[in-house]
């Protein structure tokens, strides 16, 4: 069912989307991305050699998870922009929560734009990645 601009209110929450970036899912992502060989994203030993405590989730995969929340929520609309700040490294194999909230809505040049904050958190709520997204949503006829 489409998400209409008319029905959206400031403060409305998105998600949570709950997932885990497992060793296997990160490896699969990296193979599609074209960086499948052993590196800090796919191999714990390679990550430790770089001074990390273990393999980490690629930033672009964190962005993909944030985008998944946005596209699921904005059914019938589109993501115009996603601007992300990486605050902490995201490790493999821990429960992740992806959440968001509508912070503004505006009509600009005929487009119905919704601003959202989105966060990738640990299961305990510590925020590792934050972002600001702009979505375009349809209006009711």
């Amino acid at each position: 069912m489409p998400r209409y601009f008319d029905d959206v209110e400031m403060g409305e929450e998105l998600g949570p989307l709950e997932t885990t970036a497992t060793d296997a899912s990160v490896r699969e992502f990296c193979e599609v991305w074209g960086t499948g060989s052993a590196n800090r994203f796919t191999d714990h030993e390679a990550a430790r050699k770089e001074g990390l405590t273990g393999a980490i989730v690629p930033g672009i995969m964190s962005m993909a998870l944030l985008s998944q929340l946005l596209t699921q929520w904005a059914d019938g609309g589109s993501v115009k922009k996603l601007d992300v700040v990486f605050r902490q490294l995201v490790p493999h194999n821990i429960p992740l929560r992806i959440v968001g909230v509508v912070t503004d809505k505006n009509q600009v040049a005929g487009e119905n734009l919704v601003e959202c904050d989105v966060y990738l958190e640990t299961g305990q709520g510590d925020r590792m990645v934050g972002g600001k997204a702009t979505l375009s949503l349809p209006r009711k006829e």
Partner: protein
């Protein structure tokens, strides 16, 4: 009066929120029954002397004050009541400045410097206080910080309790929806940076979470 003592606008390189977006979000919080009276913009490694937010402040009914968050070799420090004299005495962009000197200069110039998120693992003030220089000039720490990870605020509060330091609260917001999650309650009205410094030196304030300001909560 409830003031968010620590937030960053797009003037800081890692923030994605404009001042107006923060003030609009404060209206959402007020509709939910929370009380937010003011914010202090504490941009990283600079003081935005040229920015005037008075018309926005008036439009949205929120006091908007300016300070700074500076990097030092002993962690981040919030500076309130920044004056021209302090700007001449201290290079705000120096990420390895001596915090002891900063605290002293700030006091001499009518300002005040306060360790931000002192309990932060690896980089907080708590990591340097033992065996470091004489920090007896520090009387206040920001032990309630909205950007802290689990356990960090507790470490900061423990430090404050042990050393009999006073505590303030700030959201450390970099995104719109994080504004005012932590604040400081002052008994008197504050409408200028000078009054804020007076309020801090008076020592009558306490850190609060947003939830504590909700007058619509039952009981």
């Amino acid at each position: 009066m409830f003031i968010d003592m620590h937030c960053h606008s797009v003037s800081s390189d890692d923030s994605r929120a404009t001042v107006e977006q923060y003030l609009k979000w404060v209206q959402v919080l007020r509709k939910r029954g929370h009380r937010v009276d003011g914010i202090v913009l504490t941009e990283h490694r600079k003081f935005d002397a040229g920015h005037d937010y008075s018309s926005l402040a008036s439009q949205y009914g929120v006091v908007v004050l300016k300070g700074s968050e500076l990097d030092t070799r002993y962690g981040h420090f919030l500076v309130y009541g920044v004056t021209d004299r302090l700007l001449r005495a201290v290079n705000f962009a120096d990420v390895a400045m001596d915090a002891v000197e900063l605290v002293r200069y700030a006091r001499e110039c009518g300002a005040i410097a306060v360790p931000a998120h002192p309990g932060r693992f690896g980089i907080g003030f708590i990591e340097y206080i033992d065996g470091g220089p004489d920090f007896s000039g520090v009387e206040i720490v920001e032990y309630l910080n909205g950007g802290s990870r689990r356990g960090e605020n507790e470490r900061g509060q423990e430090l404050a309790d042990q050393r009999k330091l006073l505590g303030i609260g700030g959201s450390d917001a970099h995104f719109v929806s994080a504004i005012a999650t932590c604040m400081t309650e002052f008994p008197r009205a504050i409408h200028s940076e000078g009054e804020l410094v007076e309020g801090l030196y008076a020592g009558q304030f306490r850190p609060v979470r947003l939830e504590e300001t909700n007058h619509q909560s039952p009981g």
